[in-house]
Amino acid sequence: MKSIIQMTAGLALAATVASAEDVAPADVVYEEYGEVTASLTGIAGDPENGIVVMTSRGKGNCIACHEVTALADYPFHGEVGPMLDGVGGYRSEAELRGIVANAKHTFPDTMMPAFYKTSGYIRPGDAFTGKAGEEPLPPLLTAQEIEDVVAYLQTLTD
């Protein structure tokens, strides 16, 4: 049992470890409509990994709420948020980064979770254990994962 806990704790750490260059969640600068102009990592996003983040239940699981025609190979798309087809055409990179990092700056009461936020929660839990979690929590996605998703969303132009 102990080793299982250590192992999963190790995994969690590996997945959320931030590089020193990353903009920390609390330091992200949101513009008037929630845009984030500067890259969170300074490293270009990888759209291929963006797909992994968007479709994996253990990562962003964006398709739990959004339908994306280009991702039709991945089963079960939700209907809670708007369809994302073409979103890279009508939203700028800065808008997309802001929405993925913390959509509440763009859409104040939105149901969309903030993926790059670590504190200010009511009854924060320790992931899906149901036990209490201690803030700051690891953000749902790393800075680079956000950049990867943003890079992928920019490919959705029609």
């Binding site: 049992m1 299982i4 806990i5 192992m7 999963t8 704790a9 995994l11 969690a12 997945a15 994996s56 239940r57 253990g58 990562k59 962003g60 699981n61 964006c62 398709i63 739990a64 709420c65 089963p75 079960f76 798309h77 939700g78 209907e79 809670v80 149901m111 979770p113 903030a114 993926f115 929660y121 009511i122 009854r123 924060p124 839990g125 320790d126 992931a127 899906f128 254990t129 149901g130 036990k131 209490a132 979690g133 929590l137 749902l140 996605l141």
Partner: protein, 284 residues
């Protein structure tokens, strides 16, 4: 343990390998070809227009799951009800009494009961869920041990009492001494908890009828409890269901049987006023 810890970001949103069949939301529920169940009703006034109509979770399930609840021979929850019928007639405790000694036959003695719970109990000066009342009878009137909240014996008995009142119109009182607790439950219902910052209302008021990954969201009503879930192949209690939903927001949950969940149950039950008691129901 390991599986839970490894689940990542928004995994909880899709908890089960749900049936993908599209539900027939206009189906009508008649059990055994005779008991008509109200699965759509005008929303109670205390919802202040938040919903125009209240709907049973049965409507959102696949054709196959719906069918299982339409005939008691196909409803696996009825096996637990049969067990509870035996328990109903079995004397226990220091008083050597059975439920039947005080209440007669369950079908008659428990008619109308389920539809009004949770409800204020004047003597105890508390809001009691059905489980609390069952345990009060066991300890006070039978001198028997309490059953575990949401344990198998308890859920089976709740199943029997629901069966005895099946088809009755849910009519949970929210005023008088219960009001403070009801308000607490209402606040909980609209509070966005956990790292996903989701409230009950986000999923069950704003998005019922929508898919959230492979799950077809219902209004999260509890008129069907206890529910036999195909996912875990047993009867499930209200608080355990709440716990799962709260956990899926990446929040610290409340305890089964806690004051918090009693308040939430009172509030959620009252949202279903006008629907029929349909437990034990079948869900995925």
């Amino acid at each position: 343990m390991m599986k839970t810890a490894l689940k990542g970001a928004v995994y909880g949103l899709i908890a089960l390998a749900a049936s993908t069949a599209v539900a027939d939301e206009s189906a009508e529920l008649v059990i055994n070809g005779e008991t008509e169940i109200v699965t759509r009703a005008d929303a109670p006034a205390h919802l202040d227009g938040a919903l125009s109509e209240v709907t049973s979770g049965w409507l959102y399930r696949s054709d196959e799951t719906q069918a299982m609840q339409m005939d008691d021979f196909d409803n696996p929850g009825m096996l637990a009800v049969e067990d509870a019928m035996v328990a109903w007639g079995t004397a226990e405790g220091t008083e050597n009494k059975s439920c039947a000694d005080c209440h007669g036959a369950a079908e008659e003695g428990m008619a109308g009961v389920r539809a009004t719970y949770p409800k204020w109990n004047d003597n105890a000066e508390e809001v009691r869920t059905l489980a609390m009342q069952i345990n009060a009878c066991r300890t006070e009137n039978m001198g028997a041990e309490e059953w575990k909240y949401d344990g198998g014996d308890m859920l089976a008995m709740e199943g029997l009492i629901s069966y005895a009142g099946r088809g009755d119109t849910i009519n949970v009182a929210i005023d008088g001494p219960a009001q403070a607790m009801w308000e607490q439950g209402r606040d909980m219902y609209y509070t966005r908890t956990g790292q996903l910052e989701l409230s009950c209302a986000n999923c069950h008021e704003q998005n019922y009828g929508n898919m959230i990954r492979a799950d077809h969201l219902s209004q999260g009503q509890i008129n069907g409890f206890p529910t036999y879930r195909l996912k875990n192949a047993k009867l499930n209690g209200v608080h355990s269901r709440f716990k799962g939903c709260v956990r899926d927001t990446r929040a610290e949950t409340y305890a089964v049987g806690s004051e918090d969940f009693i308040a939430l149950e009172l509030y959620v039950a009252s949202r279903g006023n006008g629907l029929s008691v349909e437990g034990p129901s079948v869900r995925n």
